[in-house]
């Protein structure tokens, strides 16, 4: 899951990015409106956390422009909690709205819900054969026993599970599981896939040579 954070307060941006990375997300950051808009338009993020008050281009404007081309879920962050602002945000096409100061767990929960909704899933549990994935608790059970996965491995499993039956290409993996600082030429993905197969069974992930990976529906 790859997320873009657009926030001009450096300390807030840094702590949000760190916390979301620790949650297993690939995180890109932008410190002003122009950069934020450029990134939001260039990649298919799984979610965007967008501050309203930004230099150069404000959050409303970014949202308006991004909405012309993309349906990326957007969570607006704002210091204004007046109903008028909330209505404006939701009307402009924001998917959710969070007023500063907020609690991190709430932000995480709302992001999970946004991503789940955009993948047309209504529950937190995905069952694939003997594997059960709980996206709220972010853990995986194999035959009712918890499986130890790293954050990145979990993200890979969840991403494949959310796109069950589809072939996920390497590009897609790199776009959604890794952030802008990681090179797509590395064999990191193959390492993660191999580790997941060791833990959940070799047949859990199918390789489509020349295309990518997939969990069979």
């Amino acid at each position: 899951m790859r997320i873009l954070i657009v926030e001009d307060e450096p300390d807030l941006l840094a702590s949000l990015a760190r916390a979301l990375r620790e949650e297993g997300y690939a995180v890109d950051t932008a410190a002003d409106g122009e950069d934020g808009f450029f990134k939001a338009e260039s990649y298919d993020y799984d979610a965007v956390v967008l501050d309203v008050m930004l230099p150069k281009l404000d959050g409303w404007e970014i949202l308006r422009r991004v909405r012309k081309a993309k349906r990326t879920p957007v969570l607006m962050l704002t210091a204004r909690d007046q109903t008028r602002d909330r209505v404006k945000g939701l009307d402009t096409g924001a998917d959710d709205y969070l007023v500063k100061p907020f609690d991190l767990p709430e932000l995480f929960a709302r992001l999970r819900a946004l991503i789940r909704r955009s993948a047309d899933k209504t529950t937190n549990r995905i069952e694939i054969g003997e594997v059960l994935i709980d996206t709220a608790a972010r853990h995986v059970l194999l035959r009712d026993k918890p499986v130890e996965l790293t954050a990145r491995e979990y993200a890979l499993v969840e991403f494949l599970a959310l796109h069950r039956g589809e072939v996920v290409t390497r590009t897609q993996f790199y776009e959604h599981l890794f952030d802008e600082n990681e090179s797509s030429l590395s064999n990191l993905l193959d390492v993660h896939v191999s580790n997941v197969r060791k833990k959940l069974g070799a047949e859990f992930i199918t390789t489509r040579r020349g295309h990518g990976y997939c969990i069979e529906g």
Partner: protein, 478 residues
Amino acid sequence: MKIFNSIKWRLQIWYGLIFVIVLAGFGFTAYQLERGRLLGRIDNELHRRVGILANALRPPPPRDLNGNEQPFDRPPPGQFPDDGPPRHPPRPLLVFHLPPEDAHFFDPNEPNSFYYSIQDLHGKRNWHSDNNPNYDPKSLLAISVNDSLRLTYREIENLLPSDKEISVGCSIAPELKELRLTALKLAGFGGIVLIFGLAGGWWLVSRAIRPIEDISATAVKISAGDLSQRINIAEAGSELGQLAGVLNSTFARLEAAFAQQQQFTSDAAHELRTPVSVMLTQTQAALTRDRDAASYKQTVEACQRAAQRMRKLIESLLALARFDAGQEVLKRLRFDLRATIGECVELVKPLADEHGVKISVAGGSLEITGDSERLAQVVTNLLTNAIQYNRPEGEVRVKLEPQGGLAVLTVADTGQGIAAEDLPRVFERFYRADESRSSANNGLGLAISKAIVEAHGGTIEVSSAEGAATTFTVRLPV
């Protein structure tokens, strides 16, 4: 009593009272005049009949040559049998007959007949017409007539020189009836006039009071919290229209002040939200798992920066609040403003170097009276702004010169300038040229500078050539 507290009702009551008095006076006068007229007519008739009777009673002319006596001197036979022999002169009146030619004056068959009585005071004799209500027509004796009956008769008495008293009277019942009718008409007419008058008065009072009711209704809504209410002024020229105008402008100022206060509070809260968010996310993220010392240090440093920012904001807010309340006590000491400027330039030097901005100061030493610390705050603030909003490798030119009893300080930058429409707003609280916040600036600096300069009795102005330069000019009394 609610009614007596209402101006409308009080006016109406007073007005109605005066109206009733005037109408009653008018009605009474009209009634009296009519009564006088009717009774005067009757009195004329009565006097005429007294004259006729008096004529009839006059001593007869001397006997004519035949020795014939006047017929009325001779009593009819059988009447007054115990009368003494007639005397001459004065001849006692034995019997009285109306001369036939005058009989019609006392015709008892007339609907409103007159009656008479003649009393001989010496002889205690009495003659009266049959229709005299004071006497029983059968017994010829005087009867007592009750008062209410007496009131419906009018009599006049006349004492003749011959000691005869004549009274003539008549029933005035028709006149009284007519008078009653007149009184009824007057009362009815007065009542109608009173009703119309009261209704008209009510209408007038209501019209006059309506603006007051509008004002009070509006004031009630405003005191209930809806400050956008205004009084609807129908007649701007009238006294109440003027009052409403004055109140409306007061309400407008009140609303503006209230909105400003609300905006200020909301802005202040908004300014606090960001550093609080930083502290919350930093600490919550740090506490999710065990971390190394460097990571904790990073978190603590971020929290410290957020706390510093909040401290600066709180100090600024408090300073503004003190200036607003007039509680800020300024020192009044002589000091060299040029030296203070030099210190401030030294203070902002690192920031200027960071932005690659050069600062030049022109002007010699200039002593003024004031609070050097507070004024240094103004200078530092202007310098910081000039550096932050400058272009890289730009310049800040500071100039101090005496001008007509004032110390004039100008701080000019070579930045992007400020748009003309934003110029009037730069001294507003929480106003920033670009909408985003930068942690170095909380948007209160210029507002505080303005408060400080004005507390010194000076002025601060800004002028800008868009895209080229912004110049702040501070004028302080020496």
